[in-house]
Symmetry: C2
Subunit: 222 residues, 2 copies
């Protein structure tokens, strides 16, 4: 199978980077093809604007979705977007590896979605949710939190993490058709001992070996 | 009163820009002080990393929250962050004006939060939610959608927009203590006639004149 892994963390020695490297190695060892987007290492530009395109249909009034439709029809996405779009289109499974910042993905990953998930190419004309462009693909969020697990339960200090993730699961992934696998969550790795972190990496390896046998989880509507 | 208005839209002729300009003019005419952060016009850098700081406590392993605590203690935030932090600290009311992209804020605004809302300075050591640093301030999301209103109701195509906004309302604003005013939402301005858009701007003006009399809305837990 083909797997795209997107990493959004600035520190190569971080737990997120270790999860990223572990996934690459494990999936390749299992015989899969893996492509990656290490957004910080690539210095990916997350600001969505006129620079998304090699030419504009309307140079005096920037209407982003109309330009996306035009770029889809004319093949005029900027090179950095086109290459990311091709990776998403290529994969059977997409994994996002990131730290949960402010109940969401880091800005660099949000901007990757803003720029890469273009109207016409990735959605539109009724192609969304169950009829989404990527309805034959799966996606999996793998993330770390700052706090302990009890803070992310219903009634906990922050609240149920699955509700926090819903705009991502539903608004970005299900919206474009992806079937969502249960998130891989590491709670407070900064507070864990090296042995505990090794155990997290082992659990991740064990899960990934069987990941193509997993059934998607229900995300539900709002 | 002091108001900070943050704008995250790439097109100066957009409805978002018109809402931004209308708010500035209306609030100043009512005798308030207004400061702005026009993120696209400022070319604000939304990538949170070592560049957030003028000096690092640990130059070999980047741990963002520890660096934020260090920068809070030593006054070593990068100039572009320090100046945004001062605006937030100065204001009584903060307004974010943005298009809803992927059920969330644009990447440039998410990255503004990632970088500016620093541990130590904006939260930490029990100072969050009801005891948040900004518990004497208010915040208001003013946003536009792509689709029509019926798509954003419970059971609609996208679902209840207030649930989509909850990670922002709770995870960014209530988390740091802000009391949240009801969001100002314009549904599908691209589909509206000029007269309808003018009416939206009028409603915004009328609301802003009385905005300091509004009671916050309940956001609730997860």
């Amino acid at each position: 199978m083909n797997i795209l892994i997107v990493l959004a963390h600035p520190e190569p020695q971080s737990m997120n980077a270790a999860m990223f490297t572990t996934a690459i190695e494990t999936l390749r060892a299992a015989g899969h093809e893996v492509k990656t987007s290490n957004l910080y290492a690539m210095r990916f530009n997350p600001v969505s604007d006129q620079g998304n395109f090699t030419k504009l249909q309307n140079t005096t009034f920037y209407k982003q979705q109309l330009e996306e439709l035009h770029a889809t029809a004319t093949g005029s996405f900027a090179a950095d977007i086109e290459s990311e779009q091709q990776k998403v289109e290529w994969c059977d499974l997409m994994i996002w590896q990131f730290p949960l910042w402010w109940f969401s993905v880091p800005g660099i990953l949000k901007g990757w979605v803003d720029r890469v998930f273009a109207m016409g190419r990735f959605y539109g004309e009724g192609r969304l949710y169950e009829q989404g462009v990527f309805k034959n693909k799966k996606a999996l969020l793998s993330l770390t939190t700052g706090g302990r697990e009890e803070a992310y339960l219903k009634g906990g200090l922050q609240g149920d993490i699955h509700n926090m993730l819903k705009p991502i699961h539903r608004g970005m992934l299900r919206f474009t058709g992806f079937h969502v696998l249960r998130p891989q969550i590491i709670y407070g790795p900064a507070r864990q001992s090296p042995a505990m972190r090794d155990r997290e990496l082992d659990q991740w390896r064990n899960r990934l070996v069987e990941v193509f046998n997993e059934a998607p989880v229900e995300i539900g509507t709002y």
